[in-house]
Symmetry: C2
Subunit: 173 residues, 2 copies
């Protein structure tokens, strides 16, 4: 849960403002605050988790407004909806900085690692074209488990997950 490089949230606010203006919508204190909170950390979040931040900072915005603002951010391409396997939608605020990153999910602790690889990107691009299509976006999710848990019986991420009270992925019942 380290915080983002300073200014990232401001950049997002500006971009949303631009988008809003072009669509003839209005800039409001609620929208500004929610955007700032969405980009204040580089972690993925669910709608409920974002609403938690709203409450934590005593922002005057309802759950409905949080949902509506998230939709706006997705439409403006500031936020991306990703599939981490859970039952609720997860949003990723890091596509502005890393436009084509992928996700590796640890089956043991649920920790998500982002990674980029140009070969992977290129290969997918070629395959898509060979099938007669024009590539628009690609998303890759790898499920894996730490070597360390398997060989040494313990997993640093697992401990970390417990400390941060993170929900384990649904598949691990």
């Amino acid at each position: 849960m380290r915080s983002r490089l300073p200014g990232m949230d401001e950049a997002a606010v500006a971009k949303l403002d631009d988008f809003i203006r072009r669509k003839g919508l209005r800039r409001t204190p609620q929208r500004d605050a929610i955007v700032r909170l969405a980009f204040s950390e580089d972690d993925h979040f669910t709608s409920e988790e974002l609403f938690d931040r709203v409450r934590k900072f005593n922002i005057n915005a309802s759950r409905a407004t949080v949902y509506r603002t998230i939709s706006l951010l997705v439409e403006a391409k500031l936020l991306r909806e990703i599939d981490l396997g859970g039952d609720t939608k997860t949003y990723d605020p890091n596509f502005l900085e890393k436009p084509s990153h992928n996700h590796l999910v640890c089956i043991d602790c649920g920790k998500v690692i982002e990674f980029e690889d140009s070969h992977l990107e290129l290969l997918n691009d070629c395959l898509t074209r060979r099938m007669g299509f024009r590539p628009m976006s690609q998303s890759i999710k790898i499920e894996a488990c730490c070597e360390r848990l398997r060989t040494k019986g313990s997993c640093p991420n697992l401990i970390q997950a417990r400390l941060s009270k993170k929900r384990l992925p649904a598949r691990r019942r």
Copy 2:
């Protein structure tokens, strides 16, 4: 919507029977019928679509039983839950035959194309290990659009999608 190679549904019934036996569960007419329907076509389906087939063939099974049987099939690894971007879960009956295939979704018509590529698989495997993990499963979704629609202004898949009354993906509002 071509039907599957003959015997595929029987093979699935047998595999589920095996799984059920090992877990001390019971074989029932409902389960048998639902499994047969799930593997009668090689198309992906939602729970509701599978329940539609149940009604269409006058099978005596409730919606709840369909949901419960799907869970069983996923647990037995006969069916795989995949993410096609919609709001409801989609199930893929083709992983028995093609254990590591991926999906390309046409943004224009929503048509889903399955493809396999060993290079892609190998590359992902290497990347995962380099990050210190042991790969368990990978899923790739590529969103793209037909060259043909772009260059000629028409898309055979689009027409096909209309004819078969398939729901277009949610992202295309």
